[in-house]
């Protein structure tokens, strides 16, 4: 183990801002990406409904024609 205390760990030998700025941005971006997909999923129910589209319906047509 390289660290004797939490403070030392956070300090990263004087490079704390750079190291945690990198790891922090990664965590932020990846979390935001997951959140964005969840929001987009929620918005699906609000999509305007048109006529039923059964052109590619696997229950309507044999699969080899689908």
């Amino acid at each position: 183990m390289n660290w004797n205390s939490l403070g030392q760990f956070l300090e990263m030998g004087g490079y704390g801002l750079y190291v945690w700025g990198s790891f922090g941005m990664c965590a932020l971006v990846l979390a935001a990406e997951c959140w964005g997909i969840a929001q987009r999923r929620k918005a699906l129910r609000e999509l305007p409904l048109d006529d039923l589209d059964d052109r590619n319906d696997l229950n309507e047509r044999p699969l080899h024609e689908a």
């Binding site: 183990m1 390289n2 660290w3 760990f9 990263m12 030998g13 004087g14 490079y15 750079y18 190291v19 700025g21 990198s22 790891f23 941005m25 990664c26 971006v29 990846l30 990406e33 997951c34 997909i37 987009r40 999923r41 699906l44 129910r45 999509l47 409904l49 048109d50 006529d51 039923l52 589209d53 059964d54 590619n56 319906d57 696997l58 229950n59 309507e60 699969l63 689908a66």
Partner: protein, 243 residues
């Protein structure tokens, strides 16, 4: 019935739903191990001090930015050649993930460059070609968004993705072809890695973690895109409860 039946969005949707938890679990597990190795076990670098630890996220993000582009171009090409809707949706789903990975590679690179080189940015071949990669992703997404007809948008964006593929080997070999400030590859298939084993293992575990995360997220986004495009079909209406 063969595996190709999963090219039907209606059948791929539940299959992807079953795969996502596995990739997500692998991503979490590998991230935990990778962070433990990278932040707690790996020793201080005798030249760079602790700032080198940025490579545990920088290298995985940079690798994924290129791998995702290749995957995106591959599925775009399949969609273009075989006119398969799902392949085009996969390409469209991969683009935002690739763009974010490219951004992270540039961001973490800048934060590594400042203490190590004394500058956030330099217009050398490696950094410039990686920035072009970001513009290619943004161009792909913008072009796709600008065309109303989804299938036409798929085809136009696919052509752009395929033209842009030429940039990936340029990024990869830039440190060999030109005299760049960016260092050469520390890990390659042709020679022994020029770093301590524990650092290398930590970096590879983090790269695998990013890879598993990217697959899980791309699949989740593909599922949303399938429903967005198919929301007027019988099966999607039943699933969404909008019948």
């Amino acid at each position: 019935m063969s595996w190709t039946r999963y090219a039907a969005p209606q059948l791929f949707y539940p299959l992807a739903g079953k795969m996502i938890p596995w990739f997500a679990a692998l991503a979490l597990l590998l991230t935990a191990v990778g962070l433990y190795l990278g932040l707690l076990v790996a020793p201080t670098d005798h030249q760079q001090g602790e700032s080198y630890r940025i490579i545990f996220v920088h290298v995985p993000a940079a690798w994924m930015s290129m791998i995702i582009y290749l995957a995106m171009a591959f599925w775009a090409a399949v969609g273009l050649m075989f006119n398969t809707r799902l392949a085009s949706m996969l390409a469209v789903a991969l683009a935002p993930s690739g763009a974010w990975m490219t951004f992270l590679a540039l961001w973490t690179g800048a934060l590594w460059g400042k203490p190590t080189w004394g500058t956030w940015w330099v217009w050398d071949a490696r950094l410039t070609s990686e920035l072009i990669l970001l513009f290619l992703y943004i161009g792909f997404m913008s072009l796709h968004a600008a065309i109303d007809d989804e299938r036409r948008a798929d085809r136009a964006a696919a052509v752009l993705a395929l033209v842009g593929v030429v940039n990936v080997p340029i990024i990869y070999f830039s440190v060999k072809w030109w005299n760049t400030l960016h260092q050469g590859a520390s890990v390659s298939l042709s020679k022994a890695p020029s770093m301590a084993t524990i650092m290398l293992v930590g970096m590879l575990v983090m790269a695998l973690a990013f890879w598993m995360y990217s697959i899980a997220v791309a699949l989740a986004r593909t599922r949303v895109i399938i429903l967005e495009r198919e929301h007027n079909t019988r099966w999607a209406r039943q699933l969404l409860g909008t019948t």
